[in-house]
Symmetry: C2
């Protein structure tokens, strides 16, 4: 049951969309889209910018990624079903980008969920990348924006996933506290509750999740621990002309 009303006690909305497939239902009236794929695409993107990469080109297909193989200073990364695609040296592990200097480099990346979500939302007024790695920096920046914000979870093959939703809930909690932002959608409230249940023990709640058991089987402990550690970076990747670059003061908000 629904009656279309709007509460006047906040200026802008912040909402959570749990899966890419539902994006068209949530996109109307949204100006800024935050794409979230905690395990692992958006964590890897933030890690790469933290380590100096010039730009990241997100592509939808493995074939598109292959076209960049012979270009100088290009790192070409492709992940499907949690594994590096045959013939590629990189997948979606953020640990591939730490302990090195990526300045002058371009990463071309295609992943199962994250780059799909980016492609879906590429026509938003602004598209930025979120992960636990840049949680506080991204929250600070979002708090200063004057627009409706959609937190778009990449999920798993269009199904709900827990880690993206908990992260969205963390941003939600921060933005709602300001009083500047409010919600209209039940999904947004649910994400906040999930974060409140998980915040003292994000690893614990994920251990209870079936997908977490699969992650253990993939022996990705180091990756998961890295991806769930907040505030390792102040980098905010932003989509400009189909490429992700690091948001700086010089990039005017359109």
């Amino acid at each position: 049951m629904e009656v279309v009303t709007r509460n006047a006690d906040y200026q802008y909305r912040v909402e959570v969309c749990f899966t890419p497939g539902q994006y068209p239902l949530y996109a109307p009236e949204m100006g800024i889209v935050v794409v979230i794929d905690v395990l692992r695409a958006t964590s890897a993107m933030v890690a790469a910018f933290e380590h100096g990469v010039d730009r990241i080109i997100p592509v939808s297909t493995v074939e598109e990624a292959r076209q960049y193989f012979d270009r100088p200073d290009h790192i070409v990364a492709a992940e499907r079903d949690g594994e590096i695609v045959d013939g590629f040296a990189y997948g979606n592990s953020p640990l591939a980008y730490v302990d090195r200097d990526l300045s002058g480099k371009t990463i071309v990346m295609t992943t199962t969920n994250g780059t799909k979500a980016i492609n879906l939302a590429k026509d938003a007024r602004m598209l930025v990348i979120g992960s636990f790695l840049n949680l506080t920096a991204l929250g600070d920046w979002l708090l200063h924006q004057n627009d409706n914000i959609l937190l778009l979870c990449s999920g798993w093959k269009d199904k709900f996933n827990l880690e993206d939703s908990v992260f969205a809930g963390a941003l939600m909690e921060r933005l709602l506290q300001s009083g500047k932002f409010g919600v209209e959608e039940d999904s947004s409230i649910a994400a906040k509750y999930m974060y409140l249940a998980a915040r003292d023990n994000v690893m614990g709640i994920l251990k209870a999740a079936p997908r977490r058991r699969r992650i253990e089987q993939l022996r990705m402990h180091a990756d998961v621990k890295y991806c769930l550690t907040p505030d390792q970076s102040t980098a905010i990747p932003v989509l400009r002309n189909g490429e992700l670059v690091r948001l700086t003061e010089n990039i005017a908000v359109p």
Copy 2:
């Protein structure tokens, strides 16, 4: 990231699908589907069987419902956007069916979300109707079934809603405690967490929800309170040849 594995420590799966649009992603391998529309279609259905109705015919469109107007002993109900459709005497309020004897009657019902979800899942091996009204009876019955169970939330116009998900979490909690059922999907775990957060105060968590504020504006306090009160009935509506009837010992499980 995902690796297809199956834990061997349970016999059957119980999963939660948050919205009808995601049903095709969750339906494979599921034998029993529980359709949930707490506010208010499935609550009204259980209330009607509790008060003796013979059968309920769920139809997809208002036009289909109109075709039953002149039939004797038929009650024709149509709800859209939370309101009774013009020209109809009944919508989806369960309170329309209490304090009366409905034996010998047929209800024809079309609603915004609930009957849509029923129609989507009509080809499941078994389709039953869940609401807080029959929570314990339904949980008892499900515990004795030997099949995978999908809890299908009707949501709101294909978006996630809190009350259906919290109810699904209540069933989930019960079924998981048995050890007979296990989960593979993160949505199922999230529903359980939502229920655990809400169970001592379901009304409270819904008050925090934006939709709840809209409900207040519709002045549906009495309806909402009724729909959130558990265990008012032992009726389990089941779909048979396109009609909902009350599950009895005589209805053999196919």
